[in-house]
Symmetry: C2
Subunit: 359 residues, 2 copies
Amino acid sequence: MAKGEPGEHNVTIHDIARQAGVSVATVSRVINQQPGVGAETRARLERLFAELGYSVNVQAQQLSTGRSKLIGVVFPVEISRIVLHPVYLPLLGAVGDAAAERGHAVLLATSSGHLDQTLDVLHRHGVDGVILPAAGPADPLLGALADLEARTVLIGHRTDEPQLRWVDSDHDVAAYRLTRHLIDNGRRRLVHLGGPGDVSAAVLRAKGFVQAIEEAGTRVSFAAVEQISFNSSLAAARARSILTHPDGPPDGIVCGSDLIASGVLLAARELGISVPGDLAVTGFDDLELAAHTAPPLTSVRMPLRELGAAAVSMLLDYPNGVSPRSVLLNQEILYRESTEGPRQPPRAGGTSHKPGESQ
Amino acid sequence: MAKGEPGEHNVTIHDIARQAGVSVATVSRVINQQPGVGAETRARLERLFAELGYSVNVQAQQLSTGRSKLIGVVFPVEISRIVLHPVYLPLLGAVGDAAAERGHAVLLATSSGHLDQTLDVLHRHGVDGVILPAAGPADPLLGALADLEARTVLIGHRTDEPQLRWVDSDHDVAAYRLTRHLIDNGRRRLVHLGGPGDVSAAVLRAKGFVQAIEEAGTRVSFAAVEQISFNSSLAAARARSILTHPDGPPDGIVCGSDLIASGVLLAARELGISVPGDLAVTGFDDLELAAHTAPPLTSVRMPLRELGAAAVSMLLDYPNGVSPRSVLLNQEILYRESTEGPRQPPRAGGTSHKPGESQ
DNA sequence: CTGAAAGCGCTTACAG
DNA sequence: CTGAAAGCGCTTACAG
C-alpha cells in the first residue's frame, strides 16, 4: 500500500513518459482526462498505465493543486449515544461511496480529544470540506467550523448558522403523516414515545406528531409525548407502564425509532394487548428488524444514500455562500401490519387505509 | 480547512525561516522535533509557529518522505449486519484516537464497491497500513491484502494467513468463565444463545461455552447451542420458545451479546420466569443497557480502546515479518444481578459466588 | 549547531 | 496537439 515499499521503484509519470516517448505534461493530461491529447496517444498511454501498474500519487497531486481530494468526516464527542443508533454506519458508508464516486476519499476524525486537535487534523490534511453525519445542536464543532469559514455540511441537524449548510430528511412530515394515518383509522388515544431531546431527528418527529394531534382537534381524546433513549429494553419497560396506566391505555403509539417500537411491541404482547387490534404501533428508521417483528412494523425509511450523496455534492459542487444552503429530502413510509385497519368502528365505506404506499 | 483558501497566503516553512532569519532546514528540524537545533532557536521558532498560525502541510511531508501518515480502515461489504453491532463505532473511535496520538490520521474506506476500487484508494493515498476492525473469515479483502504484502492488522478475527496480523480479545475464555460461573452456582440446564456463525467473536464465544460444558461432565444435565442475529426482538422470540420447551426450560442462558440477553430477559419476564431465581442470564459487550436491564446483566467488556491502540501499534511499530504477529487481550467480566446466587441448592458453605470481581 | 541545494511526483501556464 | 520548465511545501544527505 505504502508507495515507498522497499525494493521496487514505484512507477511514476516520468516512467510512463519515457516509455511512451512523450512529455510528462501529456501524461498528466490523460491522467486527468483533459483535452488536448490525440486519441491515439491517449489510448497508448492508457494501455501503458495498465501494463506498468501505474497509479497516480495523490500526495503529489494534492501538493501541486492545493486540493486534497479529501473530505473530513467528524463524529461528535458523545459517541456513546450515537453508537446505539444503527443508521450512522450506513450513512457513513453512503458518504464514503458518494465521495469515492467523485474521486474523493474520507478522512475520519473522531472528536474524542480536544476540539483544537480535531480542527488541526482537518487543517493539516487540507480537507476540501467537512461533513458532520451526526451533527447535534450542542456540538461545539459547529461554531468553530463556522468561524473558520470551512466548507461544512451537517447531516440531520438544521442549523441557523449562516456559514453552515445542511442536508436532512423530513422527519416531521413523516411523523405527521403516520399520526394522521392512525387518527384516520379511528385511533383516539395517542402517545408519542420519542427519542432523546438532544437528537434533532427526535425533536422533529415529536413535532410532527404534535402537529397532527393539534389539527385533529376533538377527534383525538388523549395525547401525550414522552422521551426515552433509543433502546428496546428501556422502551419495553416504559411501555409497560404506559399500557397499564390507570387512566386507560392508548390505542396508538408513534415511536421515535424501530428499537423503541420493538420494545413497545414486546410489552404489548406481554400484557395481552393485541397489535394492531387494540393498539397501533409505528417505528422509524426501517431497520432490518422492522419487517420481522410480530406483527411487522409500519416504519419510515430515511434516504440514507441520498443524504450522503447530497451532502457530498453540496460540499463539492458549490463554493461557500452559493445556494443551496440546505437540502431537504423525503422519507418513505412503509405501511405494515402493526397499523392495519381501524380499531373500533368496523371499516366504513370509502375510508382511509392507504393503499399503494405500502411495500 | 483547505490549504489554498482564496485570499490569504498560507504560511509555509519559508515564511517562518525568513522571519526567524534561519534556514528552512532548521525550521524543518524543529517541526519534526529532531536534534541539532539550539534550545534558544527552537524556542523562538516555536513561538513563531503559534504567532503566525503555522501548521505543517502534510501532503508536502508525505511527498518528501514517502510516508503518508495515513492508516486505512476498511469496513466489510456486508455492512448491514455489522451496523447492528454497537461496538464498531467505539472501536473505530479507538483506532482513530490511537492513530492521532501517533500523528497519523484515518482514511476510511467502505468496501461497498469493487474490491479493486477499495485497494486502489488505499494504494493511491499510500496508506502506511490498513486495519480491518470488523474482519470476518469470508472477507475477500484478506486474501488481496495478503497478496499485496500490505501491512495489515485485523481486529476480531484470528487469521492463519501468515502475511496478516491480528489483534483480538479472549471471547472464548470469557464465555468459558461465564459458563463455569453458572455451573458453580448450581445451574444444570444450560443454553448458549449465540450470535451468527460468520462473526468470529460469536464462534469463539460458543466455543468457550462448549468447553466449559464438556469439562463439567455429568454436573450438567442438559446443554444446547443456538445461533441468532444480534437483535433483542428476535432473541426474545427465540427465548420464548426455548423457555417453554416441552422438555423443560433451561436454568441458565449464556447469550452471545447484551442485545440478545436483553431479549431473553424480556421473554423471561413475560413468562413469569424469575431472573436470577429460576434463570441465570449473561450478556456480552457490556453495552450501556446492560447495567440498566431488570435485573442488571452480568456481561463482558471488550477492551475496545486497547484493541484499537494495539492494532495501531502493531501497524506502526513493527515492520512486516517481525513479531508479534498477533496480540490477544483480556476481557473483563462484570458480575451483576442476573447471575446472582445458586438456584436450587441453598447456598452451601464455602461456595463459589465470586466476590471482588464485580463492579 | 546550521545552511544550500536537490529531490519527492505531480500540475500548469506559456510557448510552439 | 505537444513539450520545457517552474513551482507546490516539505525533508535530507552533505558540507561546514
